[in-house]
Amino acid sequence: GESVGLHLPTLSVQEGDNSIINCAYSNSASDYFIWYKQESGKGPQFIIDIRSNMDKRQGQRVTVLLNKTVKHLSLQIAATQPGDSAVYFCAEIMEYGNKLVFGAGTILRVKS
């Protein structure tokens, strides 16, 4: 079946550097995407979302880019901080539905 997947399971960055976390999705019918952050022992925490009629959306220190041509989603974190260390999941919602389909997750480690 179609699913969301991630290229890199672990990403290590130096504090202050920018981080880019990537996600490939295969379902062309998806029209809403969310990035979640999950810290150890906690539930997923919303970071930013984007709808399929957009290709870029910015938040505070975070930017999500959507490339529908190649079915690729990325999360950019500017000036990465130790508190950004967590597992990051992309998730998609297909057209006409509202269930989240999660990717496998990327571990972000920030080195001080």
Binding site: Y32, I34, Y36, G41, K42, G43, P44, Q45, F46, D49, F89, A91, I93, G97, N98, K99, L100, V101, F102, G103, A104, G105
Partner: protein
Amino acid sequence: EPEVTQTPSHQVTQMGQEVILRCVPISNHLYFYWYRQILGQKVEFLVSFYNNEISEKSEIFDDQFSVERPDGSNFTLKIRSTKLEDSAMYFCASSEAFVGEQFFGPGTRLTVL
């Protein structure tokens, strides 16, 4: 800031026993969900609920699972006869809109022995 709450934080049970996991969604939200996450794996959708009815359920959500909104604030997930493979973190979520940000609770860790 409003948040989704879940109880208990950890539930240990014997195989074959019934468990009820409880959630209090955000008060003005209309759409409710249960997800689960087996250790080290991705979060998986179980069921969505709206207007006192199941909207959608996954293949995981078989006859052993049920959901209920017994009053205006609680949302429960019942597993009638637990199996070892039901051991996982169970997350409740709620959203204000049909498609939009889903707010997750802290989860209940279910351990089936």
